[in-house]
């Protein structure tokens, strides 16, 4: 069953055609990879899917609802979360506060009971605190919960961004280079996390340059080059595709 339908998406920036007639489907509860050389339009596509950019033409259908031309906060309201290639955390907040802030869509936190010192405010705070700690534990940051986001290492920041994206229990998760700059062991932990999220029924679309990560994790891969889809298929199909090898993997060594 398909969760996300991308139909003939085009986007131009002035004279630059970043995406041209891009179409592919993402099945529910699967991990779908999006690969391609630098400048292929991968991040532009994620920006369109999350409502940060609107497409010049084409449609995005998510669970029977049109997603294009809807502002980012409403896309999030439909259960779509994302991370950013150039990490966009809340730097002056602690790890725990980043995840607490991420609860905007699922938490109530009304002002009036707080002003009146009603016990319900404290109850909700404790519940959110517990949930947030669990999410941090899931990405392996429970020991860093009181550290400021700006003081984390690069890999930790990437994992905190995933934790914040998970805080409102999304149904579709868009990850833009989740393991860029991570050590092998750290990347393997993220791979396990992504696999377990998909196992719980979450749909995941990810961009990544780390080929062993993509090939091991994704059931389907879409390859973009110069804004066009070269092919969509299983890792084996993509690995053997002549145009993909020419455009992206180079000759011979494709475990870069």
């Amino acid at each position: 069953m398909n969760d996300l339908l991308v139909r003939n998406i085009s986007r131009s920036f002035g004279g630059l055609q970043a995406l041209l007639e891009v179409s592919f489907d993402v099945a529910r509860g699967t991990v779908h990879g999006l690969i391609g050389p630098n400048g292929a339009g991968k991040t532009t596509l994620i920006n369109i899917l999350s409502g940060v950019l609107s497409p010049t033409s084409g449609e995005v259908i998510y669970r029977d609802q049109a997603l294009h031309r809807i502002p980012a906060h409403r896309v999030a309201g439909m259960g779509v979360a994302r991370t950013f290639q150039n990490i966009r955390l809340f730097p002056a907040m602690t790890c725990l506060e980043n995840v607490l802030a991420g609860h905007h869509l699922t938490a109530l936190r009304p002002l009036l009971p707080r002003l009146l010192r009603l016990p319900s405010a404290g109850r909700e705070d404790r519940k959110l605190m517990g949930e947030s700690c669990e999410i941090l534990a899931r990405v392996g940051l429970e020991a860093k919960s009181s550290h400021l986001a700006k003081n984390l290492s690069y890999g930790e920041r990437r994992r905190l961004e995933i934790a914040r994206a998970l805080s409102f229990s999304p149904k579709l998760l868009l990850l833009d280079e989740p393991v860029a700059g991570m050590r092998r062991a750290e990347a393997a932990e993220v791979a396990n996390l992504v696999r377990s999220l998909a196992g719980e029924g979450m749909t995941i679309l990810l961009i990544e340059h780390n080929m062993s990560f993509v090939m091991n994790l994704c059931s389907q891969i879409t390859v973009l080059n110069f804004g066009r889809v070269i092919t969509t298929g299983s890792p084996e199909e993509v690995r053997g595709h002549r145009e993909v090898i020419e455009a992206y993997l180079g000759s011979g060594d494709h475990d870069a």
Partner: protein
Amino acid sequence: MLEQLAHFYAVYGSVINFIGINALMALSLNVTLAAGMLSLSNAAFAGLGGYAAGILTLHFKMPYVVSLCGGALVAGIVGLLLGLPVLRLRGVFLAMATLAFGEVVRIAAVNLDITGGAEGLTGIPNVTKTWMIYLALAGAAYFMANLRRSRMGWALVSMREDETAAACLGIHITYYKVAAFTVGAMMAGLAGGMYAHLNYLITPRDFGFFVAVDLLIYNIVGGTRVWYGPILGAVLITALPEILRGAGVTAGPIRMGVNGLILLMVILFLPNGLASVFAWVRPAAVKAKTT
């Protein structure tokens, strides 16, 4: 002892009152600053609130509390109407647009009949008492302290940290910007109404460009990230001329220079304002207890 206190109040009562009013206005600017918006229209909102409250008292014979509420409401409504178009701007462009709005309010006050022109609105009964100012300030401080952990507070701080990331978490940026702008305008309008009923009169100059900049200085000196920051800044900067006078320096002509020097020192050595001094003391105390 009691006599000395009474004497102190007789001498410094008006400074104490103005410290409270300035702190309330500084806190009103903090609502938008905490959300990362550099808006400089809060002095104008205080002016609007002051004029509206004064007019309600003088021309419509309204009781004090009704006039104050009316002033805050007028400022809030204008804030809402101004916020909708202006909050599409960011950074210095928002600062410029809001400063321009301040000039519009000042020039309107000079030229309208109902505001008393350049001479201002005179003969407003002096009914604001010190305890009323500090009650309003305490209420505003309590509101700000609790706002931080509420739905709106989390949204505002998230927006300050990263607007795009905040939007992708489902935060409606425009809604919260306009809401913050309106709440700040109402708080400033309340301060303006109290000022008008303290000072017998309100003139167009009372809430002009320099007051707009002063409110920003209070926030930067005190610190924008905690609710008591702007209060600290307002207390220090407002009381400073009196303290200097006590030390034998007539600060009148060099007041702006002294303010500038303090601002420079704070930016260089305490980038998060005076409030960060308290933030340093606390972890150290905790550490001392555990070792």
